[in-house]
């Protein structure tokens, strides 16, 4: 680089034509370079060992060395604590009690926190908390990379202070115009929040608080109010019930906020000869219907009539004259109800006030002790009338400002267009939202709120049962709670935490310790005085009004899926991949249709070459609104009825992979899940389903799911109904389990783990699947891979339909198939399910066989048996021959077909740094080409042993747990040590209902199943 700077060498240069300067110009160097010193004397040069070649070699080498040195290996970031917080011990999990209350799910939970990261949700059993799949998965939504990361004004980011100034200013303008300020929230059940909204009202006057549930329970609330004076939901203690008659109520799903599975299954497990009888009238095949003893398939409109008939039969003893099969079943149901008396209960899911009134009336007439009108539930408060009113007012410009919180009306409202119009007409529209969702886009101010695991709060889930919400991690983004904002806007300087604590100390705790309450997560007030007052209701008119509800030859019944619920967690890959317990189809919603209707319409379901399921497309139209939907033929769907699930079809703020299904809210006219007068049109094209179970029936293989009826169970010896397979040894038949080629290992020393699965208690809800996902870092593979039958779930829940009306019928049909052709015909027919099949669920995970077929065949001994009964996988030894998976009769081994983490082709939580924060550091993330499977949560059992050791005590009774056994609210999954007589699992393993899956192969599994007992007593 030639620089034109001129450097002075000497004063001589000032003179022009100075000889010295000239000479200086000529030669570059002032003095001679002493080359001759070394070039001069020849001999040293000759003798020197360094030749020109050597020199070049050295140059070459150094260059190479330098180049090599410059390439660096991958940098693994690990940030040490500068000052280690004294309450965190690295490697030891902390548990915090908090509460999930997102307006749809309400649950008292324990949060497992590792090194400051919440990584798992568990039920807070002390506060009889129940965690369904959504609650389990909610922890992943915390790490959703597409969350709203800060406050925005008209899409542009602003600071909180600016937001506050502008909003307060606008609110004051509105105040001046004396137009009402509407606060539109989902059900919060939070006393303190109520107070804050009241406070807002004090400051800005006529603030109206409208509560809105995306999936409405208004009818039930109104009915209860009319009958008992308070606008709340009654509770049902199903464990007390002997007869449960449900008319269209999916109470094992999210009917009235759900949470009944625990009490239901308590009554379902036959104890001293008794179990409840469950009769279900419904049109869609719901999870509840699948678990019922008797399932009556009727169209939604017929459900009204059924309810009326039942009412007449039970209350006024009128027996309808004409003898249709439906009447017959209703008569029988009625008789059983009357027989059960106070131990009977009728539940209705019909979104019609009159229907709800009749249901309550029947229970009243029975004076059912199952129905609890005193300790009411506050988990649904929405009022359809108010919401409808609000929208009209907004459009008429009668609303000054709208503040939306914990709700996504733009997505969930059937008439969301009108709502969006209305929003344009109000002076100020604010939305508090965790996600950058449709509503957040539609309003002026979208304010980022923290996830419930980052927030303070409270909720009164049941009357007098208060729960606290506490943060378990510092807010990840620049978020602020709704409540903090309200405080700021009402000119208070206090934080919500202070306010909350104050409120509780003054109004709730009544002197009890705040810290204790925070520790427990709940506080129950002693005496809850009931404010239920019995009012007189004109039920005759109710009945007659209900009778007037017109059906049509094609009726749509909207329903809620276990996975996505109301759709607010649609960006959660765990929930998207969770197969629907009934259809076992993930990543979609679809129109369920009866086989007959499908044939009439020409709609088909077919399998492509690799087995994946495809379905025809139809156009569903309901007065003007129409949508192209795939058809899934659903056994047990009422003829002339269709089913469609809420929660799908969201686009805004979702990863491309998550934008699945179609929005069913468009058909949610008048917030009624029953919609007559829909029309269907077959349209060209096919839809690709991601269905994990392609064979729906059990093929008459009665030894896979053993079943019996209550009578037989009570009267006959277990050998009859729990048949143990026999083999011939020395020409006499002996039990298959007793025969052994070799002398066995001694398994009586130390711990030996067993997992017991009660097929009566299990209702297939799938909470365990998500728990397993979270605990074991199970990857999400996405729709395409599911279609290739490559789901990675370590724990799956198989669902089987019967071909006859029950499985016993299938077994008979198979037995009667004599000869080769007979057998062939039997098998061919058994392949398709019945019109109204009986359904069985069976959770299957690694059976941890003591004689494991997978272990024998592994060439590298990557899988072998542990001393505690576990079949263990050494991932870093595995070379991936897949021989073990082929030889596994239970098909529970899962192969890593691709590299799932850090792979842009699998853009789920394991592909971004935020999503990876949910990973459990105790469980390795498997690499490509490795076989993986259920480990019986060995990391948990080892931790338990270690804990006991540290505390210098033996492991307590029932202290051992696995992720699935903790998550299971119905106690269907019980884990423990069979070498420990006190452990529950010990007795369960020896129970007369206990059997092993595919016992005749002689794999000697450590997972025990319990024969399913059905209560078929008709009267």
């Amino acid at each position: 680089m030639a620089s034109n700077k001129k450097y002075w060498k000497s004063v001589e240069e000032l003179k022009e034509k100075s000889s010295i300067v000239d000479t200086l110009k000529q030669n570059e160097f002032f003095e001679e370079i002493p080359t001759d010193i070394f070039l001069g004397d020849k001999e040293t040069l000759e003798t020197s060992s360094t030749t020109r070649r050597d020199f070049l070699k050295y140059v070459g080498f150094t260059t190479a060395a330098v180049t090599l040195a410059s390439c660096e290996g991958p940098v693994v970031k690990s940030i040490p604590y500068i000052i280690q917080p004294d309450d965190i011990i690295p490697g030891v999990a902390e548990y915090y009690a908090t509460t999930m209350a997102d307006g749809f799910d309400f649950a008292n939970v324990l949060v497992k926190v590792r090194e400051g990261r919440p990584i798992k949700i568990e039920p807070n059993k002390d506060a009889n908390g129940i965690t369904n799949a959504r609650v389990q998965a909610s922890v992943l939504s915390l790490y959703d990379s597409l969350r709203l990361k800060g406050p925005k004004a008209n899409g542009a980011e602003i600071s909180w202070s600016e937001a506050d100034q502008q909003i307060i200013a606008k609110l004051n303008e509105v105040k001046a115009t004396s137009l009402p300020i509407a606060v539109l929230t989902g059900t919060s059940a939070s006393p303190s929040t109520k107070k804050l909204i009241a406070k807002l009202n004090e400051t800005f006057e006529n603030v109206t608080h409208v509560e809105y549930d995306a999936i409405s329970e208004s009818a039930a609330l109104d009915a209860f109010e009319e009958m008992y004076g308070t606008r709340a939901l009654p509770d049902y203690h199903l464990e007390k019930a002997e007869v449960i008659v449900s008319i269209g109520a999916d109470f094992l799903g999210s009917w009235q906020g759900g949470g009944f599975e625990a009490s239901y299954s308590k009554g379902r497990v036959p104890t001293n000869g008794k179990m409840s009888r469950h009769i279900q009238f419904e049109s869609n095949m719901s999870l509840t219907g699948a678990n019922a003893d008797k399932r009556v398939v009727i169209k939604p409109s017929e459900q009204n009539l059924a309810l009326i008939k039942l009412y007449n039969a039970v209350v006024s003893g009128i027996l309808t004259t004409e003898e249709t099969p439906l009447n017959d079943t209703i008569q029988k149901a009625a008789r059983q109800l009357i027989k059960a008396g106070s131990k009977g209960v009728v539940i209705s899911g019909i979104q019609d006030k009159n229907a709800q009134l009749l249901a309550l009336a029947i229970n009243k007439a029975l004076n059912s002790e199952v129905l609890d009108v005193n300790v009411t539930k506050n988990i649904r408060k929405g009022n359809d009338a108010h919401v409808a009113q609000l929208i009209t007012d907004m459009n008429e410009g009668k609303i000054g400002a709208v503040i939306i919180c914990n709700s996504n009306p733009v997505y969930t409202l059937p008439n969301s267009a009108a709502f969006v119009e209305g929003l344009k007409k109000v002076k100020l529209s604010v939305a508090f939202s965790m996600q950058d969702n449709e509503t957040a886009k539609a309003v002026q101010y979208s304010l980022a709120t923290p996830h419930y695991l980052e927030s303070w709060g409270d909720a009164e889930i049941r009357k007098g049962q208060y729960s606290l919400i506490q943060p378990t991690i510092k807010t990840l983004f620049n978020t602020r709670q709704f409540q903090d904002c309200l405080l700021a806007w009402t000119g208070s300087t206090a934080t919500y935490y202070d306010f909350l604590k104050e409120t509780w100390n003054n109004e709730i705790l009544g002197g009890a310790s705040w810290n204790q309450a925070l520790h427990d997560g709940v506080f129950t007030a002693e005496a809850v005085q009931s404010d239920a007052i019995s009012l007189e209701v004109d039920l005759e008119t109710a009945a007659s009004q209900l009778a007037e509800v017109k059906g049509s030859d094609l009726e749509l019944q909207l329903y809620v899926k276990i996975g996505l619920g109301d759709g607010q967690m649609a960006n959660n890959p765990w929930l998207q991949e969770l197969p629907d317990p009934i259809t076992r189809t993930s990543w979609d919603n679809y129109l369920t249709m009866s086989k007959a209707d499908a044939e009439a319409l020409g709609a088909t379901n077919n399998h492509v070459a690799n087995g994946a399921l495809n379905g025809s497309l139809v156009e569903l139209t309901l007065n003007g609104v129409s949508e192209i939907l795939p058809v899934l033929i659903q056994p047990g769907q009422a003829k002339g009825s269709l089913g469609l699930a809420f929660g799908y079809g969201r686009k805004q703020g979702l990863k491309a992979e998550m934008q699945t299904g179609k929005n069913a809210y468009a058909f949610y006219k008048d917030f009624n899940n029953f919609q007559p007068n829909v029309s269907l049109k077959l349209v060209p094209g096919e839809h690709e389903f991601a269905c994990v179970q392609l064979q729906n029936t059990l093929m008459g293989r009665g030894d896979i799911i053993k079943e019996t009826t209550l009578e037989i169970f009570n009267t006959v010896d277990s050998k009859e109904w729990n048949i143990v397979p026999v083999v011939s040894l020395d020409h006499n038949e002996v039990e298959a389990g007793s025969v052994d080629l070799w002398d066995s290992f001694d398994r009586s020393i130390g711990h030996h783990f067993n997992l017991s699965i009660d097929l009566n208690a299990c209702n297939g809800c799938g909470a365990c699947i998500i728990a397993c996902h979270a605990e074991n870092n199970v990857p999400v593979v996405g729709k395409e891979e599911i279609r290739r039958s490559r789901d990675m779930h370590w724990l799956r829940i198989d669902r089987y339909y019967s071909h006859q009306e029950d499985f016993a019928g299938d077994n008979e049909l198979k037995a009667n198939g004599k000869g080769v052709m007979g057998f062939k015909n039997a098998m061919d027919t058994l392949e398709d399910p019945s019109e109204n099949p009986s359904v069985a669920f069976q959770p299957v995970m690694c059976q941890h066989c003591n004689h494991a077929p997978c272990e024998t065949v592994c060439p590298v001994a990557a899988t072998s048996h542990g001393r505690q009964g576990q079949n263990q996988m050494a991932y870093n030894r595995c070379v991936g021959t897949r021989y073990c998976a082929n030889n596994c009769p239970y098909k529970v081994r899962r192969f890593n077909w691709f590299e799932y983490p850090n792979n842009s082709k699998f853009d789920y939580n394991m592909n971004d740094d935020l999503g990876k924060m949910v990973l459990n550091p105790d469980v390795v993330v498997r690499s490509r080409g490795v076989m993986e499977k259920c480990s019986m949560c060995i990391q948990m059992t080892q931790a338990t042993i270690l804990k006991a050791k540290k505390e210098g005590r033996p492991v307590n009774t029932n202290e051992f747990e696995t992720a699935c056994s903790i998550a299971c609210t119905t106690d269907a999954l019980v884990f423990g040590d069979v070498n420990k007589p006190e452990d529950t699992v010990k007795s369960l393993a020896e129970d007369k209902r206990a059997y092993h899956l595919l016992e005749h192969i002689g794999t000697k599994p450590n997972v025990v199943y319990h024969v399913k007992v059905r209560n078929t007593q008709e009267s």
């Binding site: 070799w742 002398d743 066995s744 004689h851 494991a852 024998t856 072998s864 048996h865 542990g866 001393r867």
Partner: protein, 174 residues
Amino acid sequence: MSNKVVQAMYNDDDILMDAVKEVRAANYHIEEVYTPFPVHGLDKAMGLKGTRIAITAFLYGCVGLVFSIWMMDYMMIKDWPQDIGGKPSFTFIQNMPAFVPIMFEMTVFFAAHLMVITFYMRSRLWPFKEAENPDPRTTDDMFVMEVIVDGNEEELVAFLKKTGTVEIKVTEKH
């Protein structure tokens, strides 16, 4: 003594056989016979001893068997016994049925390879080994008999001429 040899070449195996017999009858010492293919009975005619290579094969086989037994006993029973599918790893004999295939394979492996290596060593066959056959045609269709000369060259040559040779050469053998 001088190591002069006469190389008598024949173009037919039967003629060669007769020649060999005659030469031996006349108490000349046959140094070596080169043939393009195995001529049956030639070794007997030349009075060669039978080869013992089959016996070595048997011994090598035994080594292989013993080695495989030792290997599997050490790896599966002694060093790190595991509970694999409940199969008894307490003693070798209990687990042995599963080891039979490999015991057999190792036996064959050792027998075959070590025997062939022995053969190559004894017959001095290995890559880059220079061929030593006196005439390139001996691998095609010619048969060469080398008879040691000790002072009786003319007589020997004359004798061989009678045995139906097609060509005779007297050379120094190194």
